[in-house]
């Protein structure tokens, strides 16, 4: 994947203002984003197959969730243990060096 090096270089932040019918848009951390009551989910990848999700809890705190990622046919699948035997799965496509699309 051409953008894979860029994938590891940064954490990716959900820019929900750009979401469309295709899915959720993530941009590299560090850009100017408007403040939002909706906490912004973050996603980061390591070359060893581990990944990390930062999500908001029902009390608006941010929490880290450990995950794993695999790649097949140009799509990255992120699997995170959501507790109580359930698994959260995200299907991610690298759109460009500065844009990930998390499919709905």
């Amino acid at each position: 994947m051409s953008g894979k090096r860029a994938l590891f270089k940064t954490a990716w932040v959900h820019v929900f203002e750009e979401d469309g019918t295709e899915g959720a848009v993530y941009r590299p951390e560090g850009g100017e984003l408007p403040r939002s009551r909706r906490p912004r989910q973050r996603l980061s990848f390591s070359p060893d197959g581990s990944a990390r999700l930062v999500v908001a809890g029902p009390d608006d705190r941010l929490h880290e969730v450990e995950a794993r990622w695999t790649e097949a046919e140009g799509e990255i699948t992120v699997s995170a243990d959501s507790g109580a035997g359930s698994v959260r799965t995200l299907h991610v496509r690298v759109r460009s060096r500065d844009c990930l699309l998390v499919r709905r």
Partner: protein, 296 residues
């Protein structure tokens, strides 16, 4: 409309939103929290079924301690800004906010006074070298911030610079006393001074104090129509709204009126959130009178 989780086969792996996973971990991390939350849900359900739920509740006054942890002058919010925040809490929880006229016609009858008032008891200030605080409660520790003042009998409210773009966070009833209270970013606190649009009308504290009194987000914290806020008079919604939505905003087959995005427990801008419903007030009052009885 009442919301219920869909029944699924036991133990089958399924997609679930990370928000609920985070809540499950909180419940696991502090055992008394799980017990108290379970008791509180039972008490809330019982009270909802009683006619007493419809009676006018007693007026109670909650003493508030504001803990200001600051590095810059802007973060050291002035007394006037603190007073403006207390005024907003009093106005919103009494449903005397003039912008409640924004509630769409079908829901106007649901606007409800909580009969909870807030009184500023004291302000504690401390300088820090930290540029921002994460949501790990470090601002509530005496080593890195300010420890809560008598949290059983006072609502502690911390004001600081929060990292990660977070405007505020809360602790549900039943958690550890040493971290009890709500935290609000100085840019989303009160009116005037350091408050910045579109979060400059004091509604972040209204939202977080709603959590402190056991209210859940209006969409039930899952983004697939299966979650519930355990409140019967708020429509099921697929996920959070943000900004200033237009009525109606339909999801989860909740037409024609759609999501109650103008509720304080959605994620919209300050100017767009204007009401608590009757059943939300029952839920808050139950928390106040059972798990937080010493606040009164």
């Amino acid at each position: 409309m009442a919301k219920r989780k869909k029944r699924t086969r036991a133990k089958a792996p399924r997609r679930r939103c990370g928000t609920m996973a985070a809540h499950m971990r909180l419940l696991e991390a502090y055992a008394p929290f799980r017990t108290r939350q379970a008791r509180l849900e039972l008490a809330t359900a019982r009270r909802r079924s009683l006619a007493a739920a419809l009676a006018l509740p007693k007026l109670v006054t909650v003493d508030v301690v504001v803990n200001v942890v600051y590095r810059t002058d802007a973060q050291n919010v002035k007394d006037a800004q603190i007073k403006s925040q207390i005024s907003v809490l009093n106005r919103d929880f009494a449903a005397t906010n003039t912008d409640k006229k924004k509630v769409p016609e079908p829901w106007k009858g649901l606007v409800t006074k909580s009969r909870v008032r807030f009184k500023l008891a004291k302000v504690v200030r401390r300088r820090t070298t930290r540029s921002s605080f994460p949501t790990d409660d470090s601002v509530k520790r005496s080593s890195t911030g300010i420890a809560p003042f008598e949290p059983e009998s006072h609502l502690n409210l911390w004001v600081c610079a929060l990292g990660g773009g977070v405007l505020g966070y809360a602790q549900f009833p039943g958690g550890p006393a040493s971290t009890d209270g709500v935290v609000v970013d100085y840019r989303a606190f009160g009116k005037g001074g350091s408050a910045q649009a579109p979060f400059n009308l004091g509604r972040t504290a209204t939202h977080e104090v709603g959590h402190y009194f056991n209210l859940r987000h209006i969409w039930g914290d899952t983004e697939d129509c299966t979650g519930s806020d355990f409140v019967a008079d708020t429509p099921n919604a697929a996920g959070p709204n943000y900004g200033t939505p237009s009525f109606p905003s339909v999801s989860c087959g909740n037409g024609p009126n759609g999501d109650m995005f103008m509720n304080y427990m959605d994620y919209v801008d300050d100017a767009a959130m204007v009401l608590f419903t009757a059943q939300q007030v029952v839920r808050m009052r139950t928390a106040l009178e059972t798990v937080r009885p010493d606040l009164r």
